[in-house]
């Protein structure tokens, strides 16, 4: 059977595949891509890896930096990154968890200085296997979840 392309292919840019549904919109937010030009978002494709489906993001004319693609690991460690140049895959990039994360993760502790006193959000990687980060301020370690990424 010919594979039906439901999402347009792009000429130049970055394709992020295998994002578990429905996290594509959160990926856009953590990368700050809301006002970054043309983007195609596909949500809820069939996937063997993700029983609830997978999302695909195609960002045109923008090659994401390593720092940016590492951030994706926080929420979608199985995602794949392809950098496209002139219609061809020029790089298949592995993603790894960043050792330090600023501004992106919201501390779930309501009594944390980041939530009460306006301290800048800042986490350090505690455990790579469990995707656990420790808040620099209240020092609580938390397994990253979508709630920590979703709220401003």
């Amino acid at each position: 059977m010919t594979r039906a392309y439901k999402v347009y292919s792009i000429e130049n840019g970055t394709v992020i595949d295998h994002i578990p549904t429905p996290l594509a919109l959160i990926v856009i937010r953590i990368l700050g891509l809301e006002n970054e030009g043309i983007m195609t978002i596909g949500i809820g494709f069939n996937s063997e890896k993700h029983p609830r489906g997978k999302d695909i993001l195609k960002i045109e004319n923008r090659e994401l930096s390593y720092e940016e693609t590492d951030k994706i690991a926080l929420i979608a460690p199985d995602a794949t990154i392809n950098i496209i140049k002139n219609g061809e895959v020029s790089e298949k990039r592995q993603i790894t968890l960043p050792s330090e994360v600023r501004d992106i993760l919201t501390c779930p502790n309501p009594n944390c200085a980041t939530n009460k006193l306006g301290a800048r959000k800042h986490f350090l990687l505690e455990n790579r296997d469990t995707v656990t980060y420790r808040c620099v301020y209240c020092e609580r370690a938390t397994v990253v979840n979508a709630d920590m990424l979703a709220s401003k």
Binding site: N109, N111, C112, A113, T114, K116, L117, G118, A119, C135, V136, Y137, C138, E139, R140, A141
Partner: protein
């Protein structure tokens, strides 16, 4: 070891074994009277954004005994914070008035935030349920003073191990010195799993037990007792039952071993019977008094008055 001069003291997590040893050894010299006047000409601000009379008085006494001057706020209602000034602005302003700032705040991470904003070192005197490093320093100093060493000891911690900030920090510190730890608590107030996991990862020997009699077979050097708070229990009867089981009397001391030392961060309610106070095993008042030389030593080190 990173030099203490100009350094903020926010969390035991920032400290190395050498750092802890340095504070304890300096506190020992201060207590023996071998170091004095090292805060001459230094000004210390004590900013207590929540009241804690005991800790504040201990810091202020430490400053006076070392020749320094102290000013501050004891009650946030009497400060500009009540006029709506932000915490950040208060810290930026006061950091220009003093050589070191001692901060107590109900919000976790407040001291870390202050240390990033302040041009002068910050000493954390308690940030919510998070850290209270000078309590841990004085606990270590008391153990060293009483037993002559900080390593290869069997140390029991008893009471509320789930919510107790003091026992969490002390566990982190004692784990750096190769000690065996015995955690004694009702199952509902057990040491949190994440702390036990850290001990596992670091290959620290420990046991968790709920029976105080069982601790009698452990040959403990120290029993560190903490208060079980009534408000942790929905049912007052359940509290009474638990509080009765984890109560230290002369009989319990005899059961635990005649050389055992009993510590407590104070204030105590009734988890240690008053009859224990006169026993040579009771070192909790000495422990409280050791807060003075310990805080003197720390303030001396961060201001550069001591090396």
């Amino acid at each position: 070891m990173i030099s203490f001069r100009g350094r903020s003291i926010v969390s035991i997590r920032d400290m190395s074994q050498d750092d802890l040893t340095k504070v304890v050894e300096t506190a020992d010299l201060v207590k023996r009277g071998e170091l004095s006047g090292f805060l001459n000409g230094k000004t210390v601000a004590t900013l207590f954004f929540e009241p804690s009379t005991r800790t504040r008085l201990s810091f202020e006494s430490a400053v006076f005994k070392s020749g320094g001057s102290v000013f501050g706020i004891a009650n946030p209602k009497a400060s500009s914070q009540s006029k709506g000034e932000s915490f950040a602005d208060s810290i930026r302003t006061v950091s220009g008035y003093c050589d070191v700032m001692v901060i107590r705040h109900p919000v976790e991470g407040a001291a870390r935030m202050a240390s990033e904003l302040s041009g002068t070192p910050v000493v954390n005197a308690g940030d919510g349920a998070n850290q209270h490093p000078t309590q841990t320093f004085l606990d270590l100093f008391t153990i060293k003073e009483s037993l002559g060493r900080l390593d290869n000891l069997k140390i029991g911690m008893m009471g509320d191990l789930k919510y107790g900030r003091t026992v969490h920090s002390l566990t982190d510190a004692l784990a750096m010195f190769n000690n065996e730890l015995i955690f004694i608590s009702p199952p509902s107030l057990k040491m949190p799993e994440h702390i036990l996991k850290e001990l596992d990862d670091a290959n620290i020997r420990y046991r968790t037990i709920s029976d105080l009699e069982e601790a009698g077979k452990c040959d403990l050097d120290i029993l560190y007792v903490t208060r079980i708070q009534k408000e942790r229990f929905g049912d007052p009867q359940e509290y009474e039952k638990v509080a009765g089981v984890y109560r230290i009397t002369q009989d319990t001391i005899n059961m635990l071993g005649k050389d055992i030392r009993v510590m407590h961060p104070l204030p105590r309610v009734d988890e240690i019977a008053e009859e224990v106070d006169s026993m040579p095993n009771a070192i909790y008042f000495t422990q409280a008094h050791n807060g003075i030389p310990t805080r003197q030593a720390l303030l001396g080190l961060v201001t550069g008055g001591l090396n």
